[in-house]
Amino acid sequence: MKSEDKLTLIAKAIQIDTADINPQTELKSIEEWDSLAKISTIAMLDKEFNKILNADQIKQLKTIQDILDYMQ
């Protein structure tokens, strides 16, 4: 999957524009990054990449790149 497509998947989960994020974007700087955005991201990673994050992994998500790292 191309990186742009991965960014689009993330943006869709968080419900923002793909143009508003890049790999270095800090999650805490995104206003929409609330519990529901985290839940949508967990759902997306499970559906598209068969990965269900555990509690520690969820806690350690700090940047968009951290999410991209699970998208393989």
Binding site: E32, S35, L36, I39, I42, A43, K47, I52, N54, A55
Partner: protein, 332 residues
């Protein structure tokens, strides 16, 4: 199997929440879009015993059952009138049920109805009881901080009453149950009993990173981690239960999961490839009423003719504890 339910009069709408939180990003329509919930009922002055009695009275009246026929009361709640005495004892007295009845409370949430069915089936099969009143009654609203969006949006108060008799033994299938105390801290009222007694200190409110306000006396819910747990456990739970009952997914006429919120339900439905018309989503009007969601959803599905006598319903509860369970019911 007879099921009735009760909802308190006061209603909390998304518009009310929008006004309370007055944040431009938290509008009524956004709340609905994100949760699938439009309203929830809230018990103001009613205690769990009041709600239990109301649901039970609805059952007795709707199905012409006399209290003297009941010989056991099971009451599922996480907001009892008292730590002691048992709320079920109070309910026995108020319903005018004979003193030769057995009764106890059990402390479970989202999985509560399943465990109630399992216990009732055991009592019936062992001839301990013949006519069991299984009640779920929950007032999570009393644990929730007024300024905590994460929980106030989701939970509603309600109660249900189910009559289970010997005729229901072969209508309740085999169970799959599970428990994982590692999840205990993810859905908790920290200062609610002996571990952390309530005090001036526990009442101190703090704001979390999302701006939600709560104290140790309030309900805390780690939504993302509970969601991840649900994805890990529930699909397996469903498939295992179907297999244990000697059936296939296609044999199931209707799936009634614990109605936690719309997003987790649609995610589970899609993950399990369950057709939309066979999958119950009924959170819009009542929200997440904890142990009452499953019995209420079954009753409403029956009233709306979505299910009928003879249908095989897979019921699955999962959440606080962590605790989970599922079985298959034949509507009768």
């Amino acid at each position: 199997m007879f099921i009735s339910y009760y909802t308190p009069k006061a209603i909390l709408t998304n518009e009310d929440l929008e006004a309370d939180f007055s944040s431009p990003s938290w509008t009524a329509s956004k709340i609905f879009r994100k949760t699938g919930i439009k309203s929830r009922h809230i018990a103001k002055d009613e205690l769990t015993s009041d709600m239990a009695v109301s649901a039970a009275n609805n059952l007795l009246n709707e199905y012409n059952i006399t209290p003297s026929n009941i010989d056991f009361i099971l009451l599922c709640t996480q907001s009892p009138d008292y730590c002691l005495p048992t709320t079920a004892c109070i309910v026995q007295e108020r319903l005018g049920i004979a003193t030769s009845t057995g009764a106890f409370d059990y402390n479970l949430g989202c999985s509560g109805y399943i465990y109630g069915l399992a216990t009732a089936k055991g009592l019936l099969m062992a001839n301990v009881a013949k006519n069991i009143l299984l009640i779920t009654a929950e007032t999570y609203s009393k644990h929730i901080n007024h300024m905590d969006r994460s929980t106030r949006t989701i939970f509603g108060d309600a109660s249900s009453a189910t009559l289970l008799t010997e005729m229901d033994i072969n209508k309740i299938g085999f169970f799959t149950l599970g428990t994982d105390g590692k999840g205990a801290k993810n859905l908790i009222v920290p200062a609610s009993a002996m571990a952390i007694p309530q005090s001036g200190v526990t009442a101190v409110e703090e704001k979390d990173e999302s701006g939600n306000i709560r104290s140790l006396n309030n309900l805390y819910m780690n939504g993302p981690e509970i969601f991840a747990f649900t994805l890990r456990v529930v699909p397996w739970l469903i498939l295992e239960t179907v297999k244990k009952n000697g059936l296939t997914m296609d044999d199931i006429d209707y799936f009634v999961f614990h109605q936690a919120n719309k997003f987790i339900l649609t995610t589970l439905r899609d993950k399990l490839n369950i057709p939309e018309e066979k999958f119950c989503i009924d959170v819009e009007e009542l929200g997440n009423t904890v142990s009452s969601t499953i019995p209420i959803a079954i009753r409403r599905a029956y009233d709306n003719k979505v299910i009928a006598i003879g249908d095989k319903i897979l019921v699955a509860g999962f959440g606080v504890g962590y605790s989970w369970g599922a079985t298959i019911l034949t509507i009768g």
